[in-house]
Symmetry: C2
Subunit: 135 residues, 2 copies
DNA sequence: CTATTGACATAGTGGTTTAGTAGGTATATA
DNA sequence: TATATACCTACTAAACCACTATGTCAATAG
């Protein structure tokens, strides 16, 4: 398993905000209730989304969150990469990893590179806009 | 990261055995040296391969391991599935998992199902025979 | 028959990740 | 001023990962 609850919750949170924001802000609590996710744990997830610039927050009464951009501008890949750190299927392909000394004659490296590419390409196809509305 | 050292070591072990078995048995130690993998840890990995029927073992002097079938009959997918338990990218798709109660109106489920499929299809394409020899 | 070579078995371990929980502070609105 | 909201720090139980340690069982070579 490669995508944890953190990534999946982020996706569901963003999709829920996209669906409900209208012209105002959506409080975290409302999303937590609708999506049946622990409020406290969601806070941790959402903090990273704010820090990453995906969400704009407003404190105090009437506050909450809204998308910083329009839903079509959020690729699923970029969201998951932010939350999971990396989507690489194997450790040796993780960014910021020192290159494996065996990589020159590694028989399995091309296999992993190919796998990494199809995963990336697949997830880059979708955006937040694909994730809500069509009941 | 979704494929651990266990899966990667298994692949490298099997490929090494395929390459060196000839008509005899390949001792674990030789593979460990060639592949620079901890001998003791490899034992754990290999035990599962024997249990899963992928390898045939012979004890004592002159013993070791050889493939139970010919290399073309080992799909990378089946090897990795055996070692990792599941290749599902998300928990809710893991086999033997009770179905998620939200699955009927889950907006992200089709996304995960699609991802799961392209990963499976990709890994099913390759066999052990693709993983050795062509220096 | 014995020493050696190997597979097989069981248990422990230090570090990291996961999925949270607890309790409090800062800030905006009614 | 009360309330609703975001934000912050810290803790935790459980699982997982990548090993290590210490053996026992079995087959062959001498």
């Amino acid at each position: 398993m490669m995508i944890s609850t953190k990534g999946r919750y982020a996706l569901r949170f963003l999709a829920d905000v996209a669906e409900h924001q209208g012209d105002g802000f959506v409080p975290l609590k409302d999303v937590a209730v609708r999506q049946k996710i622990s409020e406290k744990y969601l806070e941790i997830v959402v903090k990273e989304l704010v820090k990453g610039g995906l969400l704009t927050a407003l404190r105090g009464k009437g506050g909450g969150y809204r998308l910083s951009r329009s839903p079509e501008e959020y690729s699923v890949k970029s969201i998951l990469e932010l939350m999971e750190g990396s989507l690489a299927p194997v450790a040796c392909l993780e960014s910021g990893q020192n290159v494996c000394p065996r990589s020159n004659d590694c028989r399995t490296l091309p296999l992993w590179q190919g796998l990494d590419k199809i995963i990336s390409d697949y997830l880059a196809q979708f955006t937040l806009a694909d994730l809500y509305g069509k009941t």
